[in-house]
């Protein structure tokens, strides 16, 4: 005990230096975690989180009873995750391989810089770009193709629109990672393949793609943990939070944001948040265990 105390005293400088981050995690991550008990309480703003009366599983019954809202937003959340991940990965790998094969390196550098830019534009700004394309009177799409569609009123188009926006936003950034893997491939592998008589396509199939597989697996597994979370800005800002679109655009995160603004349904929302957090954590733990099996050095912990 004494020895431990002495060791700590000797490291007092380190303790002081790690204190600020420790406290910020405590206040802004750990205390809100305790707030998840809300899911089991009948929340009253006047009483606050800790003093509100316990409510058992009533909130969860409420959640399950409102089948349509809850199931729909969960289904939307998962559907968009699947679309974004699948299409995103295919495009990212395609662009990365194309960039890697390109002999005009300087041109490649410039194109790569341009492709990354969209990730730095916030969805509040992207929203205005999308509006310039889709506004019913002044929008480019309607004018260019002579259409007269009121895009912000028609839910059925939005899965496609949001997918395009998301791919535009994130693909360039995602491709950079795969490019860095490709840059690390030993050139001798290609030379050896060439000597064996492999043409360009065969080289891509048998050298390039296999070397990307570990990174693809890791990225996929790591993303599994965020299935229940969406890019809130995409679903809240880009859709202009239009109620008529909710059927196809409401995800768990945007639902919660709306509930906070309307001060409504706190019990329901708390149960949904709890569900989201717990499922998210289970998925991260599972996927990390899987990464650990396949590629230990890429595991998060």
């Amino acid at each position: 005990m004494r020895k431990q105390g002495k060791a700590l005293w000797e490291h007092r400088a380190q303790i002081i230096m790690s204190l600020p981050v420790f406290l910020i995690f405590l206040l802004f991550s750990y205390v809100p975690m305790a707030g998840l008990v809300l899911a089991f309480k009948d929340f009253d703003f006047k009483l606050g989180i800790w003093k509100s009366p316990w409510d058992g599983l009533a909130n969860f019954q409420f959640l399950l009873a409102s089948k349509r809202t809850f199931i729909q937003m969960t289904a939307n959340t998962i559907m968009y995750y699947l679309i974004f991940t699948a299409l995103g990965m295919v495009l990212e790998v395609m662009i990365a391989i194309a960039m890697d094969q390109l002999a005009f390196k300087r041109m490649g550098k410039v194109m790569q810089s341009v492709l990354i830019i969209p990730i730095f534009i916030s969805y509040t700004a992207v929203q205005f770009i999308v509006y310039a394309f889709l506004s019913s009177n002044t929008g480019i799409i309607n004018n260019l193709f002579g259409l007269n569609i009121r895009w912000y009123m028609e839910a059925k188009y939005w899965p496609v629109i949001l997918t395009i926006v998301k791919l535009w936003n994130g693909t360039g950034y995602g491709a950079v990672l795969y490019m860095s893997v490709l840059a690390g491939i030993d050139q001798q592998m290609y030379e050896a393949a060439q000597i064996d008589g492999a043409n360009k396509w065969q080289q891509i199939r048998h050298v390039t793609l296999p070397s990307l597989v570990p990174m693809m697996t890791v990225m996929l597994l790591l993303s599994v943990g965020s299935i229940m979370h969406s890019d809130t800005g995409l679903f809240y800002q880009v859709t202009r939070n239009s109620g008529t679109l909710y059927d196809t655009t409401q995800v768990i995160d945007s639902y919660i944001l709306n509930a906070i603004f309307h001060n409504s349904n706190f019990g329901f929302t708390a149960a949904a948040t709890f569900f989201q957090s717990v499922v998210g954590t289970i998925l991260i733990l599972l996927s990390n265990a899987a990464v650990r099996k396949i590629h230990p050095e890429n595991a998060l912990f």
């Binding site: 989180i49 810089s113 341009v114 700004a125 480019i140």
Partner: protein, 306 residues
């Protein structure tokens, strides 16, 4: 030298057709990616009547500075918001970098008894979160941070991913012997860190700093949830308000209502909105090229090595 050039030429000749197709393919993707951004700039510089009668276009036939003029002349709120965003971005990034570097440095010291505990302490928030709702209620009803700029700075200034990047950098790129010899020379822990470790961390600080700065610059959700008064509104919240009405750009204080009505009529709505968007995303695009190489490196470290 000569021989090398010969090889390059030979290379080009052999892959001629395929390479051209590849280049064209990538060029098309790049253009598709850049066009929406070009559209913002084109609309900001387009003539307002052109936009209202013929709609948005990539290459407006009539250009005008009216949008920018209106924003610069009447947009008092824009300058206030610029100030707020700059303040939170600079304070948050500098504060975050210093305290995270200190923490990351402690995580690399194998003789530090609390090391394991602090690693776990930093990992858990990545696995588990309280979610938006309880975060909102705790920030407002427990910490009373509503309409306080601290709520825009503190929660974002620390992240597990950035800590991992910084720690990995210290472990792989700063020789332990350097720190040891500084200690032998009698430098205390603080001096060793601030005069030896921190300066050597520059590339990783640039990478993480740029990512943090864009996160601060682009953060709209905290502002939307917590900020209510005009003089604390950051740029992203201003953009959200402008979506509802361009008039929020005006600062209504000290202007007689008759004059205000006249001004509102004279604001070219579409081009002024796009001009504001240009002024919000502009700074990031100007700074980005200088940080690109660091940031790509940092991103790769972060996701490849945990």
């Amino acid at each position: 030298m000569k021989q090398q050039r010969g090889i390059v030429l030979h290379h080009k000749k052999r892959h001629g057709a395929g390479q051209v197709i590849l280049a064209v393919f990538l060029l098309i993707i790049t253009i598709l990616c850049a066009l929406p951004i070009e559209l913002i700039f084109a609309s900001a510089f387009a003539d307002e009547t052109l936009l209202t009668t013929q709609g948005f276009m990539f290459f407006p036939t009539q250009l005008s500075m009216d949008g920018f003029n209106a924003v610069l002349r009447y947009g008092k709120q824009l300058f206030t918001s610029y100030g707020v965003t700059l303040l939170i971005t600079v304070t948050g990034t500098v504060l975050g970098l210093i305290i995270m570097a200190m923490y990351a440095n402690c995580l690399t010291m194998s003789d530090f008894p609390l090391r394991r505990f602090l690693i776990v302490w930093a990992m858990i928030p990545m696995l588990f979160s309280g979610g938006q709702l309880s975060t909102y209620i705790i920030y407002t009803s427990m910490y009373h941070l509503r309409d306080n700029l601290l709520v825009l700075i503190l929660p974002l200034c620390v992240s597990t991913m950035n800590l991992i990047i910084l720690r990995t950098y210290i472990q792989t790129s700063i020789p332990k012997e350097l720190m040891d010899s500084a200690r032998i020379d009698g430098a205390g822990e603080y001096r060793t860190f601030f005069q030896i470790v921190l300066p050597l961390m520059k590339p990783s600080l640039a990478a993480v700093g740029f990512m943090m700065a864009t996160a601060y610059w682009n953060d709209w959700q905290n502002a939307l949830l917590f900020i209510t008064s005009n003089n604390k509104k950051p740029l992203q919240l201003l953009l959200i308000n402008i979506q509802k009405s361009i008039e929020t750009l005006l600062s209504t204080r000290n202007i007689p209502s008759s004059a205000l009505a006249a001004m509102q009529g004279s604001i070219p709505q579409y081009s002024a909105t796009m001009a504001t968007v240009v002024m919000v995303i502009g700074p990031i695009m100007i700074v980005y090229p200088f940080f690109q190489k660091y940031f790509i490196k940092g991103m790769t470290i972060g996701s490849v090595k945990g």
